[in-house]
């Protein structure tokens, strides 16, 4: 039985990672979905205020951050793919690259927050900024946790690469659960920002 070779018949459906991580991921998506809806609802009650405040946001920062996270997700996907091989070569490079993108996101975020705060815009400035800080802040927290997850993935990748004897299917399987779970979490962080960007920065 090879988890690596393409099968002629349709591959058996499998849950990426494990069921438990999807309890968390779907749960988190549910909550952020609620956040998005609450935002648009309250926005509808005071469009003028929200539109004015939104104009002070830097769309370029938002877009660059989206590109950073998309790139990082691609690197993670490449790393996950490499970890499925009997010999692992590229994963120990891909995961750090993903981390670099995450770092880029963080730097832009910090610059953005600093600019806003020095301009006197804080969490209690008005309703729009309240949502802006809380949602992007909570998302940023998820990114930071995600960086920890990426460190863990990098660690597993390096262990796998060190194992110069071809890895057997049991080892690949054990890694698969951990790697896919961690990767799925990171992709969730990416997709949440994909919605936050137009919602906060672009939607007029």
């Amino acid at each position: 039985m090879s988890a690596v070779r393409e099968q002629v018949t349709k591959p058996k459906p499998h849950v990426p990672g494990e069921v438990g991580v999807w309890v968390f991921i779907l749960g988190d998506m549910l909550i952020f979905g609620l956040f998005f809806i609450v935002f648009v609802y309250y926005r509808g009650l005071n469009v003028e205020l929200y539109a004015q405040s939104q104009a002070t946001l830097n769309q370029n920062y938002g877009a660059i951050n989206t590109l950073f996270l998309l790139a990082s997700s691609w690197f993670v996907a490449m790393g996950v793919d490499d970890m499925r091989n009997k010999t692992v070569r590229l994963a120990p490079v891909f995961f750090p690259l993903a981390m670099l993108c995450g770092l880029g996101f963080g730097v832009v975020k910090i610059i953005e927050y600093s600019e806003k705060i020095s301009a006197g815009i804080t969490i209690t400035s008005n309703d729009f900024y309240m949502y802006y800080y809380i949602f992007t802040g909570l998302h940023f927290l998820h990114v930071l946790i995600g960086m920890g997850v990426l460190v863990f993935l990098w660690h597993r990748a390096r262990l796998a690469a060190k194992n110069t004897l071809a890895r057997d299917t049991a080892v690949i399987e054990k890694d698969r659960v951990l790697i896919e779970s961690g990767a799925s979490y990171w992709h969730m962080v990416d997709l949440l920002w994909i919605v936050l960007f137009p919602l906060l920065y672009l939607m007029k």
């Binding site: 991580v21 968390f24 309250y42």
Partner: protein, 233 residues
């Protein structure tokens, strides 16, 4: 094997939910939560118009809070099965659970103090009311720790027939995170992050309630599994 004692403790969790709802929600009328934007006179009026019901409701609420103690203990016993001889996470759960009882017991006492002499200066009534609400909704930390250590303990369970299924770990981490928004109420008097807001009150409240509903059958199952394993030895 003290299965009966453990089951009793687990059922105390159900008792907590029911009595808390009866006292705080149905009798004292604190659901839906009053707005932090209310004036002192409005707050005082609430206490003056509902004095008897508030007093009665809070006695029941205060009592129900203590039922969360045996509930937490029942979970701790199961965590100890996972951890064995050096149950650090179990101890953390017990300590956090004890503090949790305080967080649930003190606000009813403060609310009932407001109702004790409701003819007082409205500013003083509002002060007591503010304190109780903030203490009640904002102090998410001991509950956060409770859920966190349960999650960590379940993750660490490497046995062949785990005490709790692995997804329970993820579930508890999720619950822990969702209690956090309560911490924001100190910044807002209106909106979704005020103490009556959808994201700072209703969400953590629903999640906390839901956590009991999910954990209770799992806990019963774990206790019964433990009894079966004990008998087969």
């Amino acid at each position: 094997m003290n299965t009966k004692a453990q089951l009793f403790c687990a059922w105390c969790g159900v008792g907590f939910l029911i009595l808390f709802s009866i006292g705080w929600w149905f009798i004292a009328g604190y659901i839906p939560p009053m707005s932090p934007a209310m004036s002192a006179n409005e707050v005082a009026a609430f206490y003056q118009e509902n004095t008897g019901l508030i007093r009665l409701g809070m006695v029941i609420t205060m009592f129900s809070a203590a039922l969360s103690a045996p509930w937490v203990a029942a979970i701790a016993v199961q965590l100890k099965r996972i951890e064995g001889e050096f149950p650090a996470l179990t101890y953390a759960l017990l300590v956090a659970g004890a503090v949790g009882v305080v967080v649930l017991v003190v606000p009813p006492m403060v609310w009932t103090t407001a109702a004790f002499r409701s003819e007082r200066d409205p500013e003083l009534i509002m002060l007591l009311n503010d304190f109780a609400w903030l203490f009640f909704v904002m102090t998410f930390s001991p509950f956060f720790i409770q859920n966190l250590v349960i999650g960590l303990a379940v993750f660490s369970d490497k046995s062949e027939s785990p005490v709790f299924p692995r997804w329970v770990a993820y579930f508890n981490i999720w619950v822990a995170i969702l209690l956090i928004p309560g911490g924001l109420i100190t910044f807002f008097k209106t909106g979704p992050f005020a103490w009556d807001g959808i994201l700072a009150f209703w969400l953590p409240f629903a999640v906390f309630f839901g956590w009991f509903v999910v954990m209770f059958p799992l806990l019963l199952k774990a206790i019964k599994q433990q009894a079966l394993l004990g008998e087969s030895e």
